[in-house]
């Protein structure tokens, strides 16, 4: 419980209506997309960097935990106030400040919706590759804090490669600018890359400078039917072994393929190619040869987008990350889980990235009916360890991590208790 004095100070900073303390409001900021529930003591919705800074100064003085929140789609509890305190919403920090084609760079506030940002740069002939599956609702700030990307990472690299720099507010309310608005900026400690993916434990992101690419001229989506998931993963390996680099490679089990509207009754491999028009055609011919008898139809434009939109509409229940050459073996094992994964749950395997998601398909029953997360999801997630995710030794990594944390946040107020293990397997 916050004292009346602290509530009063919060209201003085962000305004009466933007400091929420009614239990009815607090109950709606007690969770994200995980199954954890912890009620905060207050929710504040600042409208400016100055207000954020003032809230953090106050929180630091009072040793109040602070959890930044975008749209609450974290799958690792990143926006759940595990120790209570203040939830700092980015709902009013939603401006795209600049899109600069000449510098291949955009500047945006953390609350900007990811999909909106992608559309905005596309209208200028530019391209922002990181494509987390939650993009229709997630925010840039949340993506950067979590290091969230998607299938395009296989060709274009991870989100970290697209954050040129950021303005952050540290735990004591002081401000720091990292990186530069240039594509190359080599020397010194790379604080930008340290902050990206730090899950709100080191700083609050108040402005992001993001790298953009020219929008590819041509894009084609090949739908390749496969006997099963493992066969799809083998085909994906064959495609890259042939020297091709598709922009997205996603294997779907039969239920997911049906739900995606791919017009298939078997598992499929979705293979998206982009680049110049002749280049895309040449690559498509090679893929068709590799797929052989399996060679399926291909789609472009809106018909292709419709399929990706379907995929993005499926909430992730569990996630496993493995080196991609282990995918065929892992997916064979996932196939055996079929019975445990009751009914019509879907599996979407990032055949380019090695990330495999267990998803709830439309009409999936009982996906969330077990309050502590579902047993099949946990079983699925447990496969990560079995299939060779490399985990660093606990020491000295843990000691260094603690030193870093206390250097940036000596009072330990920023998102305390959020797990910082390498992003391998989180049961939801």
């Amino acid at each position: 419980m916050l004292s009346a004095q602290i509530k009063h100070e919060l209201r003085a900073i962000v305004g009466e209506r933007m400091a929420l303390t009614d239990p009815a409001d607090l109950a709606t900021y007690a969770y994200d997309a995980t199954h954890y529930t912890h009620t905060p003591d207050a929710v504040v919705v600042p409208a400016s960097t100055d207000e954020v800074s003032a809230v953090l100064r106050l929180a630091s003085r009072e040793r109040l935990p602070v959890v930044a929140r975008g749209s609450g789609t974290s799958l690792c509890g990143g926006a759940t106030p595990i120790r209570g305190g203040v939830v700092l919403s980015t709902a009013r920090l939603r401006r795209i400040l600049d899109i600069n084609a000449a510098r291949s760079c955009a500047t945006a506030e953390p609350g900007v919706n990811t999909a909106e940002f992608m559309r905005a740069v596309e209208t200028r002939g530019l391209f922002y590759p990181p494509d987390p599956s939650s993009q229709s609702v997630s925010t840039l700030g949340g993506n950067v804090a979590q290091g969230a990307g998607g299938p395009r990472g296989a060709k274009y690299g991870s989100l970290r490669d697209y954050v040129l720099g950021c303005d952050v507010i540290l735990a004591d309310g002081s401000r720091l600018r990292t990186g530069a608005n240039t594509v190359k900026n080599a020397s010194g400690y790379d604080l930008t890359r340290l902050f990206v993916g730090s899950r709100g434990t080191l700083c609050f992101f108040s402005q992001l400078r993001l790298r953009l690419l020219p929008l590819p001229v041509a894009r084609r989506l090949l739908l390749l039917p496969c006997a099963d998931l493992a066969a799809a993963a083998r085909l994906a390996l064959a495609i890259t072994a042939a020297g091709l680099l598709p922009s997205r490679l996603e294997a779907l089990n039969d239920q997911a393929a049906a739900a995606a509207g791919a017009g298939q009754t078997s598992a499929i491999l979705l293979c998206e190619l982009d680049g110049s028009a002749p280049g895309v055609d040449r690559q498509a011919a090679i893929v068709a040869r590799l797929a052989g008898a399996q060679s399926g139809e291909d789609r472009a434009g809106e018909a292709a987008e419709a399929i990706w939109n379907q995929l993005q509409g499926w909430p992730t229940l569990a996630r496993v990350q493995v080196p991609r050459d282990r995918l065929p073996a892992l997916l064979a094992k996932v196939g055996e889980l079929g019975g445990t994964l009751r009914g019509d749950w879907g599996v979407v395997a990032g055949a380019g990235t090695g990330g495999v998601r267990l998803v709830a398909l439309p009409g999936t029953k009982d996906a969330g009916t077990e309050p502590e997360g579902s047993a099949p999801a946990a079983e699925f997630a447990a496969l990560a360890g079995e299939f060779g995710l490399v985990r660093p030794a606990a020491e000295p990594a843990e000691r260094l991590r603690r030193s870093l944390k206390s250097a940036f946040d000596p009072r330990g107020i920023l998102n305390p208790l959020v797990p910082l293990a390498p992003d391998g397997s989180q049961a939801r």
């Binding site: 109950a27 529930t37 609450g72 789609t73 499926w314 709830a360 969330g368």
Partner: protein, 415 residues
């Protein structure tokens, strides 16, 4: 909504529904209220979690909880798009009903639902009063509307929203010699009170199809507002009364021009007569008599929530419009996104409603249409208000909002 668990068992019976939500938050992408408010309590996930917190005893029922549950259009976009299949609409009605039992409601809300809407006579009086008020500016009515709307901003809007036409019960005329169908016309509260010309158009087009139209005695409000406000008992009483009147009317079909009434009527459990939206009846059942008189006008169509998602009727009104010679039907972006009217929402949340409306009107204006057609008088009221504001601001846009049946009646009328 044909599930009536809320009548007896209370919210507890819905615990599984609340748990089905995996909290993915994808409802944020489709919720018109969230697009404006950006608060977790404004979106389905937040409301479902409120219900769950109440059920798990982590949250006490309070007027503040109730207020947040009403920050909702009941448009059903979340339910239609929920990957986990949570029936948010059903869960919300049950939660509202529970809160009505636990914390009660403001007196004016009870007055409106139990006295005015539930009583055909007082509704008629209210309609006559509203008509009179428009002409004479009677002050007593201002107080009356004020009491209902509770908010000064709501009052200003209630007044500005009133369409400029008025009369009451439609004339059904003599029965055709050999009627193809005998149908009961269910004219809802909004049509009866505010759009008598629309009611007359419905009768005219039904007669054009060779129908004998009857207006059964004893019909009242369909009960949807009562259910929406959590008053399941009052809703059931109205449903029983209407069911009796319609069953005894010896008709082959019940036809309504109101999307909300249609959705409500189709949900009645004891009704022995099939219910149709008027466009659905004309296009799918009667087989549309081709209208002859051309209407050279560009029209765009807005899908009412309770017609598109509530009844799955999307094509019939469009086919009806396309059947009119010369009429150029142009689709607007986000045609099935809520207009923000949502019954009393426009009065209880004027600012939010207006911002939702502005997006709808902008989408309509972008088509270059002169008329926005929509199969629900409540949407017509809201969109008509938005178009009026657009015109008052000197901006180009459609000039009026009409029911498809009104356009059809024009195309049937002798030149």
């Amino acid at each position: 909504m044909s599930d009536h668990r809320e009548d007896g068992e209370g919210l507890q019976a819905y615990y599984d529904e609340a748990l089905r939500c995996v909290r993915c938050g994808l409802c944020q992408a489709v919720c018109p209220v969230y697009a404006v408010e950006q608060s977790e309590a404004s979106v389905a996930r937040g409301k479902v979690q409120l219900a769950r917190a109440l059920l798990e005893g982590r949250l006490e029922p309070s007027p503040a909880v109730r207020e947040r549950l009403f920050l909702c259009l009941n448009c059903g976009a979340c339910t239609a798009n929920c990957p986990s299949g949570v029936n948010v609409a059903k869960l919300m009605l049950a939660t509202r009903a529970q809160l009505l039992r636990d914390v009660g409601r403001p007196a004016v809300e009870g007055l409106l639902l139990r006295q005015v809407l539930a009583n055909p006579r007082s509704l008629g009086l209210a309609g006559a009063g509203l008509a009179l008020y428009r002409r004479s500016g009677l002050r007593w009515l201002a107080h009356y509307v004020d009491a209902l709307a509770t908010l000064p901003a709501g009052l200003a809007k209630a007044e500005a929203m009133l369409p400029s036409r008025s009369r009451s019960r439609p004339r059904v005329g003599p029965a055709p010699e050999r009627p193809r169908y005998r149908v009961a016309y269910f004219a809802g509260c909004v049509t009866s009170v505010l759009y008598p010309d629309l009611a007359q158009s419905v009768v005219a087009v039904l007669r054009q199809e060779g129908c004998q139209v009857v207006l059964p005695r004893g019909l009242g409000c369909c009960g949807t507002p009562h259910r929406a406000y959590g008053d399941a008992a009052a809703a059931q009483k109205l449903a029983d009364r209407n069911t009796r009147a319609l069953n005894e009317a010896s008709v082959e079909a019940v036809v309504t021009d109101c999307a909300t009434c249609g959705a409500g009527l189709k949900d009645y459990s004891g009704l022995r007569v099939p219910v149709y939206d008027v466009s659905q009846f004309l296009v799918e059942e009667a087989g549309l008599v081709a209208p002859r008189r051309p209407l050279a006008v560009r029209v765009t169509y807005h899908d009412p929530c309770h017609l598109a998602r509530g009844q799955g009727v999307r094509e019939a009104p469009r086919r009806l419009l396309r059947a009119i010679p010369g009429l150029d039907l142009v689709e607007m972006a986000e045609a099935d996104r809520c207009c923000g009217g949502a019954g009393t929402f426009a009065l209880t949340h004027p600012e939010t409603s207006l911002r939702i409306l502005e997006r709808k009107v902008a989408n309509a204006a972008a088509t270059g249409a002169a008329i926005v057609a929509s199969g629900c008088p409540a949407c017509l009221l809201q969109i008509g208000y938005g178009l009026g504001r657009l015109a008052a601001g000197g901006q180009d846009g459609p000039r009026e909002a009409l029911h498809p049946v009104e356009l059809l009646a024009q195309a049937y009328a002798p030149p």
